[in-house]
């Protein structure tokens, strides 16, 4: 066979990558059939591409199992584990509106913004006879946080025999720092509390997480923390279900 045309390596790459138009492809196909050296170069390049494709075909998979079914779990307020692979968050964010009822998110935003925060010692009195409480936590003051945990634990303990009683803590803004494994000095206590009481859920606001990450303060959540697209959405969902809202 004779050598017909000089084809650059870039041209051969474009050929095997499907980047050439029909005329160019036809020309190269023709040359390939009549030029053994060219045919070998094309074959080598194609083989190399296939090796690269295969070399990552079975890479180690991420630890987190996630399917759209997880979102149903979240919607039903059942506990599920979330690892640091917060890809789950995006799935939750997209799907969760399916399960949301009519409580207006803007109303929840106003509620979060305008409700006056109470001190932890007032939690019990504020709750009264309510059995379902969503607590917004938007501040983390390490020096006072032990007492916050104490009061929440006392509340859960007091209602330990009441199966209808449930507390959900929705952390956003700086309140998320309480859940940060890297910096929170209370991470272990919170984790223990969440493990001990099945009727306590702790929810992180994904929007605030993103904001903190953008400002150079990324949060690495503890395990057992649920993630919601936004605090307002989560509060709206709970308010729709008749939960009581308080803010710490």
């Amino acid at each position: 066979m004779t050598k017909l045309t000089q084809h650059s390596d870039e041209h051969i790459n474009a050929y095997i990558d499907g980047e050439l138009d029909n005329d160019e492809r036809a020309r190269l196909l023709f040359d390939e059939q009549h030029d053994s050296e060219l045919a070998q170069r094309i074959s080598d390049t194609r083989a190399l591409k296939e090796k690269v494709q295969l070399s990552y075909a079975d890479i180690p998979k991420p630890d987190t199992e996630q399917t759209s079914f997880c979102c149903t779990t979240v919607a039903n307020s059942q506990r599920f584990l979330i690892s640091s692979a917060a890809a789950l968050a995006i799935l939750i964010a997209i799907i969760s509106p399916i399960f949301m009822s009519s409580y207006d998110i803007n109303a929840a935003k106003l509620l979060i913004k305008n409700t006056q925060a109470i001190t932890p010692d007032k939690i019990n009195a504020a709750i009264g006879n309510n059995h379902k409480v969503v607590i917004n936590l938007s501040l983390y003051q390490p020096e006072n946080f032990d007492s916050t945990i104490d009061y929440i634990e006392a509340l859960l303990q007091e209602h330990s025999t009441d199966k209808s009683f449930a507390v959900e803590v929705v952390a956003n803004k700086n309140g998320l720092k309480a859940l940060d494994t890297k910096t929170s000095i209370h991470a272990e206590r919170i984790s223990l509390l969440a493990t001990r009481y099945n009727n306590l859920d702790i929810v992180a606001c994904a929007k605030s997480m993103a904001n903190l990450a953008d400002s150079g303060n990324p949060i690495k959540l503890m395990k057992d923390i649920l993630v919601s697209p936004s605090a307002a959405e989560q509060v709206a969902k709970r308010m729709s279900d008749g939960w009581m809202f308080i803010k710490l």
Binding site: D9, E10, N13, A14, D17, G18, E19, D44, T45, L48, K49, K51, V52, Q53, L54, S55, Y56, I59, P60, K61, P62, D63, Q66, T67, S68, S83, S84, A85, A86, A87, A89, I90, L91, A93, I94, I95, P97, I98, A206, K207, M209, A210, A213, P218, P229
Partner: protein
């Protein structure tokens, strides 16, 4: 209720996660880095998914976020290193010891030996089958640069594989060096 478009986006994002993971792993060869970068990518995607006007462009958009997150991560870790000059070198790891295919392990080693900018283009095209134009958009460089980087990547890869000593096989895990 979700719109039909949102459902489609959701499915695409769900399907995209493992692909992001594979790509981040091909760039870093490190599970921890991969998980962190993919997490960051998904959070950013979550917060701006409404800006995606064209579902067909979703893949490129996601991988562009991944690329930016990966580069940000590397810069944060090693401020003094120009990511474009960064190559990875091999180290023994349990993962490599489990490899059953010496050739593929060697290919990973060879890919890891490439400068990041070459490795990135090669993997986006060969693993994800992005077109040259799509890769140009993802990493924001001209089309000609993509072709040039791809060519250099393949030439280097071929050279490394041709010259590889036997002991390089089964060593694929990496450490960032300048």
């Amino acid at each position: 209720m979700l719109t039909a478009r949102q459902r489609k986006l959701c499915k695409r994002l769900e399907a995209g996660r493992n692909r992001l993971y594979r790509m981040a792993y091909a760039w870093s060869h490190n599970n921890d880095i991969t998980e962190e970068v993919v997490q960051e990518t998904m959070i950013k995607a979550l917060n701006s998914v409404d800006k995606v006007n064209n579902i067909k462009a979703l893949d490129g958009w996601l991988f562009r976020i991944l690329s930016n997150c990966f580069i940000d991560y590397c810069r944060k870790q090693r401020e003094e290193i120009d990511i474009d000059d960064t190559v990875l070198i091999d180290r023994d790891t349990p993962e490599s010891l489990h490899s059953q295919d010496e050739m593929l392990a060697a290919v990973r080693y060879a890919i890891a030996s490439l400068p990041f900018k070459h490795r990135q283009v090669l993997t986006l095209i060969d693993i994800e089958n992005f077109t040259y134009a799509e890769v140009a958009e993802i990493i924001d460089v001209p089309l000609g640069t993509i072709m040039s980087r791809l060519n250099r990547a393949r030439q280097s890869l071929k050279q490394i594989l041709d010259e590889r000593p036997a002991e390089f096989e089964n060593k694929t895990t990496l450490k960032i060096v300048q």
